[in-house]
């Protein structure tokens, strides 16, 4: 399995970090936050993957929905949990609206969903760039300082809800801070998805993903079920970006969502998901490993290598290991 190799690599990195006297507790803190802030975006891939629509490379569509939700919340200067909640709610509704169109396109291109979603994701960004620079929001903290109209590429969330979840019910033990609220939110959503796949609807999604002829022969409405999976995926993605942004402290618009699908897909694959099926466990393992490797490898490379080459070597090693791990797991059979 891919995650075993990656886990091995992570152990090596931890050993190196220890050897370099890096602050392990701070690293552990960060690893939890990084895990939870990226976690929902990874989870959001699962419903569509299980419905046989492949990895949702069109993640920017869902993310954009969340961003719009947050922009509205910020525009009305909603702060704290209320701001977050309203952002997530609005984002969710906008994601539902997007999924009606997005889902229908993907259903129409059956068999080539991944490439189609990639293209939709990419072409959605310029469309939204247009939107961001024209949308008439009134909170001047969001607008370009010189021209006075159009949204800034990055909007600071400090006065609104930066770290609201990170600090919610966080448990302090010495230097170690467990972001309990953040993990709880992640846990609740992951749990809901897990349970959802035990319900009849969830099972129908898996059946469609595994064999849509069977689903049809069992009297299921395949299109409706696929659309459902798209809806769920996009809504989770929208909520996911809200959680991400509160952790990150900025609302990143314009081109920022463009590449966000790729780390999420990598994380899910590392966790052991196949091209047809992924579970919550895959997402959890994959997200933690992938994000922790990122967290550790950059500072370690900076300590160990010449500054000029550290980033290049780091990229070669980390991406090489990820690729190697995927190759190995692919060799072991699709269902290994």
């Amino acid at each position: 399995m891919a995650y075993k190799i990656i886990a091995g690599f992570l152990v090596l990195l931890v050993a190196l970090a220890f050897h370099l006297h890096m602050d392990m507790i701070v690293l552990l803190n960060l690893s939890f936050i990084k895990f939870a802030m990226n976690g929902l975006l990874v989870l959001s891939l699962i419903p569509m993957l299980n419905a046989g629509m492949g990895m949702n490379f069109g993640l920017p569509v869902g993310i954009t929905a969340g961003l719009i939700g947050m922009c509205i919340a910020v525009n009305f200067k909603l702060t704290g949990l209320v701001g977050l909640l309203i952002s997530a709610l609005l984002g969710g509704f906008i994601a539902l609206a997007f999924s009606e169109v997005y889902g229908r396109i993907l259903i129409a291109v059956k068999g080539r969903e991944e490439i189609a979603s990639t293209f939709i994701g990419f072409s959605f960004i310029p469309l939204m760039n247009f939107f961001w620079s024209l949308v008439p929001f009134s909170n001047r903290q969001m607008l370009y300082p010189i021209g006075g109209s159009g949204l800034r590429p990055r909007i600071g969330l400090n006065p609104y809800f930066t770290s609201t979840l990170d600090q919610l019910w966080s448990i302090k033990v010495g230097n170690f801070v467990l972001p309990f609220g953040l993990l709880l939110v992640y846990g609740i959503i992951a749990g809901l998805i897990h349970y959802f796949f035990k319900t009849t609807s969830g099972k129908s999604i898996c059946a469609v993903g595994e064999n849509d002829a069977f689903a049809k022969a069992s009297g299921l409405n395949v299109k409706k079920i696929k659309l459902l999976s798209v809806r769920i995926s996009l809504v989770i993605a929208a909520v996911g970006i809200v959680v991400y942004a509160q952790s990150f402290g900025f609302l990143e618009l314009y081109d920022a969502p463009l590449m966000m699908a790729f780390p999420a897909v990598s994380a899910l694959l590392i966790g052991g998901a196949s091209a047809k099926k992924g579970t919550i466990i895959h997402a959890i393992i994959g997200t933690y490993l992938f994000q922790s490797i990122y967290l550790l490898s950059v500072p370690i490379a900076n300590e160990l290598l010449l500054p000029e080459i550290s980033e290049i070597v780091r990229n070669i090693i980390t991406n090489g290991i990820i690729l190697y791990a995927l190759l190995i797991s692919e060799k072991g059979g699709r269902y290994a």
Binding site: M22, D23, V26, L30, K34, A108, V109, P126, N129, W132, S133, N139, R140, Q141, L143, Y144, P145, I146, G147, G148, S149, G150, R152, P153, R154, I155, G156, N158, P159, F248, G249, F250, E252, L253, Y254, D255, A256, L258, M259, M260, F262, P263, Y294, L295, V298, P299, A301, N302, P307, E308, I309, S310, E311, I312, N315, N319
Partner: protein, 388 residues
Amino acid sequence: MKKVLSMLLVFALAFSIVGCGAKAEESSEGSGATEPVVTETQETATSYKIGIVTPTLSTSEDEYRAAENMVAKYPDIVKHITLPENFSTEIETGLSQITSLADDPEMKAVIVVSGQAGLLPALQKIEEKRPDIITMTAPIWDDPELMSKYIDVCIDTDWVRRGETIARKAHDMGAKTIIHYSFPTHMAKEVIVARRDQMKATAEELGMTFVEVTTPDPQTGNGPAAMQQFLREDIPRQIEKYGVDTNIFGTNCPMYDVIIDEALKLKFIVAEQCCPTPTQAYPTVMNLELSEEDAGNFDKINQMISEKAAEADMTGRLSGWPVPVTVYVPEYAVELAKKMIEDESFDYKNLDNLKAFSEETFGVSAEFNTLKPELDNYFVLIMESIFY
């Protein structure tokens, strides 16, 4: 499905062509209508145009707004076009957009503002096709020798010497350490490396520690988000190690949202941004609420930053240039081009002339130099500082 899609594409193409055509006509009509007015009010008998090329609004606000300001100021003269959003993949489009400016017979000057390498061929082509057009860069970053050869006037910030001035300023502000954040694609650029070397040399000369840290490369892999996230994680580590009397410098603009945000929390020093401007990072991080009439009013923005800095107990630990150099340089270039066209006796190669022109036109002091003694048309400038 495929057919519908291709039809849509064709329509989109057709529409954009027709649309552009219509716009071009409109603008030429417009200028035709105002032509007599121009001749009446201005002493020059012939009307002329100055073309300015900038990145899009979302890529870089300052340059875009600078060009828009100039359009607003001289609506009949300045023509503003933007480079493709995705500069690195669509550079060909950018090149043809620039050269197409020279198709307008009234065009007298073309100014390219991009802060990227690779646009020189377009200017070279204009120089061949229309030697009468004044080509100007404000700035682009191709090979300086070639730029000096093919371009009439090159204006840029004095990036390399800033290595020295920033280090000195940081030292004056009380810094004992300078941390320099960069990544491979930047460290492959001569100017950035030279600046780093100067900064390092000056820091050592002044007895400061110089630390270099490599971040994930925003131009490869996962984009700026990974870089910013790394800074979030790394800055607290470094400050814990080197103390608050540390100046942090990063070579990439998007770094500053995180750097200044962390500075407000951790109280370290930011002597100057890579592109020193009050409009970058400060408004986002400090959530400046600029009223509509204050938009673009730099004195007001600077004042607000000072207030917020004082609130965060950071007075004297943040500094920059009073006007964004990225707004200033393009505007300066337009004014200079206008001056050169209207007053042919103006000796633009005299550095004192340039300084005086800045003060009389903008009321801001800037010191001009040539990049290298032998390149007499490649000017680099450093502006006066403002301390918040």
